[in-house]
Symmetry: C2
Subunit: 426 residues, 2 copies
């Protein structure tokens, strides 16, 4: 039934039926969670070999007199750069290997902007105001960094090809206080959209008023394909080198969703100039990140090709879950005409746009029925979804059986919220 065109009586009848269904669900006292993009145990188990692949003292001494157990080699060992630099579209010299968290690298590079600045410009903390562009919906932890540091966030709408580039180009050209933009360019969080070649080309040739503008290119899902028709993302760093604007690009990724969410290896890819600047600052923080874990990863994967092969094992676990999400949405919500979504070919999320003004209510109903979803608003700066519409679905860390149940609950709650809204003023 198409809700918006249905008669009051029909909708009221539907609402009654839905409420009855909802009461039955509540009686089941469920406890399900689709709130965070956590890998499931089955995925974590794929990497058992990583635990013990490096097991002997004499395996720790690399050529070039580097003992991974000791201090030194600030930017990371070549063995791991050899494998992951090609994935990032970078040369080894353009890669800095971090600790277990690419988020931490991102935070540090924004904080460096605040404290030291870039390109010899004024440190951002000394400016009257600093602003970042935030394509929305987006990743809550990016927004949290800006909020904590007092960086004003400006929403830019996402389109099917990435951020609205007309808006981005105009804003950065006009305002020197705009110092950065957050991007998840492949299988975006939460929508699963991959930026088009044209979008990436426009990023590579961006002309910001701020000389020290930086694109925070969080390529978290760079090889996280789900099916046989994966998206492809144009290589920003390579393209920016052609326009001579390579210093604008900070590209990040990690093995958090390749090996272990809590114990992987993170990477920064950037121009040689930027790597030099960043290294001189990180070298004040630490003598180096965990090279034993870097070597462990290098020994486990051996080649770039093997990393891609490994991702197929993840896809085999995740794909059925994404199918359940999409199939349930299609089966239960499509006919109501109240919601929309994108079927992603990779990544960790499905973004569900409910009828404006109903997301919080649907979330609350789901919560009371024992299904925890990402807080409404979390996908927007300042936790403020202006339309009260967007819900992020994270299907990875539930079983298929749980997920079927949870998705059904979500659809019932979404329909109740929509039917309530449409009947309340009639």
């Amino acid at each position: 039934m198409e809700y918006k065109t249905a008669s009051y009586e029909k909708l009221a009848g539907e609402l009654e039926a839905l409420r009855s269904e909802y009461e039955k669900i509540k009686a089941e006292k469920l406890s399900l969670n689709m709130s965070r993009g956590r890998p499931c145990t089955e995925q974590l188990d794929l990497t058992e070999g990583l635990l013990s692949v490096l097991y002997k003292n004499d395996m720790c001494n690399l050529s070039g007199n580097t003992d991974v157990r000791n201090y030194g080699v600030l930017s990371g060992i070549e063995d791991i750069k050899n494998i992951f630099a090609p994935i990032l579209g970078a040369e080894n010299g353009e890669v800095f290997v971090g600790g277990n968290s690419s988020l931490n690298l991102m935070y540090d590079l924004v904080a460096d902007g605040m404290l030291y600045g870039y390109e010899g410009c004024t440190p951002w903390a000394k400016l009257p105001e600093v602003k970042f562009l935030c394509p929305v919906p987006g990743y809550d932890r990016h927004f949290a960094i800006c909020e904590k540091l007092g960086i004003r966030m400006i929403n830019v709408p996402m389109t099917k090809t990435g951020p609205d580039m007309d808006a981005v180009e105009k804003l950065v050209a006009e305002d020197e206080l705009i110092k950065g933009i957050w991007c998840v360019p492949k299988y975006s969080n939460p929508q699963g959209i991959t930026y088009s070649d044209e979008t990436v080309a426009r990023f590579a040739d961006l002309s910001p008023a701020a000389k020290d503008f930086r694109i925070f290119w969080d390529n978290a899902y760079v090889i996280h394909d789900l099916d046989d028709t994966p998206d492809t993302l144009a290589p920003l760093l390579v393209m920016a080198k052609k326009t001579g604007k390579q210093n604008m690009v900070f590209e990040f990724t990690s093995t958090s969703k390749i090996t272990y969410a809590g114990a992987g290896v993170s990477f920064l890819a950037a121009s040689a100039d930027n790597i030099k600047t960043v290294s001189s600052r990180i070298g004040i923080r630490t003598i180096g990140y965990d090279k034993v874990n870097q070597l462990r990863h290098a020994l486990f994967f051996k080649t770039t090709e093997n990393v891609y092969e490994h991702m197929k094992l993840h896809a085999a676990i995740l794909r059925p879950k994404f199918d359940i999400v999409i199939n349930t949405l299609e089966g239960e919500l499509e006919s109501t005409g109240t919601a929309s979504w994108h079927r992603p070919h990779g990544g960790y999320f499905v973004s569900l746009d409910l009828m404006p003004g109903t997301a919080k209510r649907a979330w609350q109903l789901a919560k009371e029925a024992g299904v925890v979803l990402t807080t409404v608003g979390a996908t927007y700066p300042y936790k403020l979804d202006p339309l009260d519409s967007n819900i992020r679905i994270a299907p990875s860390n539930t079983t298929c059986e749980e997920l079927e149940k949870a998705m059904h609950v979500l659809c019932v709650c979404a329909k109740i919220a929509a039917a309530e809204k449409l009947t309340e003023n009639k």
Copy 2:
């Protein structure tokens, strides 16, 4: 021969003999390094079991539904806190477990002061000036953090019982812009001095003008004893709780010199209030540090007692090296009356005070003879040793044979520099 009281002729003769000895040394084309406190391979090899102690998927699931491979548990797992909290004189709830680098925790907490402040006071970056007290000689990486962040460093002399507390008390009471002090309270870097009970008691009851003053208590060598008469350090955090000034204390340590210098686990011990503040800020940076490595350490050591036992294995390797350093200094330099040093009962360094005005020259001579020492001045803020006197000796990462040679070279160079100085104006 006592240099300062020797006749010009005697000293000139000595210098000639030393120069002849020096030329012979140079002909050997040595390549020896005593510049950094790096553990040697034999020490790193002690921990082989750590590499493979955690080898199976089902070992990664702790009680309480914590999978160490996944996201979460920001402040670290209880298993590792159980072992190390007692070493820090802290409750589990007063411990935050970091990544592989306690230096990184220290940097982050100073940077947090700059960006966010403490105790609700003005962020330090917004003040006209911020100052830290630096007991000298001290640790170059502490000073580098302040220098990078533009924090003005004020030297405070070290005594045999720790920093000159009269000076510390007076300075912090008078100047609200003094926001912190760097301390290596046990086996200080570089002197190997342990703060006396009275010194620690005075720290625990310090009354700074700045409400947001912090003691950066870098307890890097907390259990790093070398012999059977180790120093004991009073527990600052416990004592500060008694004076009600516990929020003043940030205590750090790591397993960098217990397990692996590049792949250990770091710890912050602080008041419950501070842990709450710090966690809320670190939680913006990262979803959590490497818990797999935390569990690896917990499984390897099992108990606090075993950590102490393990340190005896390190001591057995290091003690002969420290003996060589001290014996060579006593045998070759003592009679000249131009140098002084302290025989430490633990830690990683011997601090050698040469005749004022001769350290750089001795360093340069040693370098030209193939012996690399920590750069003169590195043990002082702004790399400026006002007396040109202090040389830090790091004996850990050389063989005993190399060390005997290197120490002899150093002594010859120190004597040449002193004899040159004493004869130049006669």
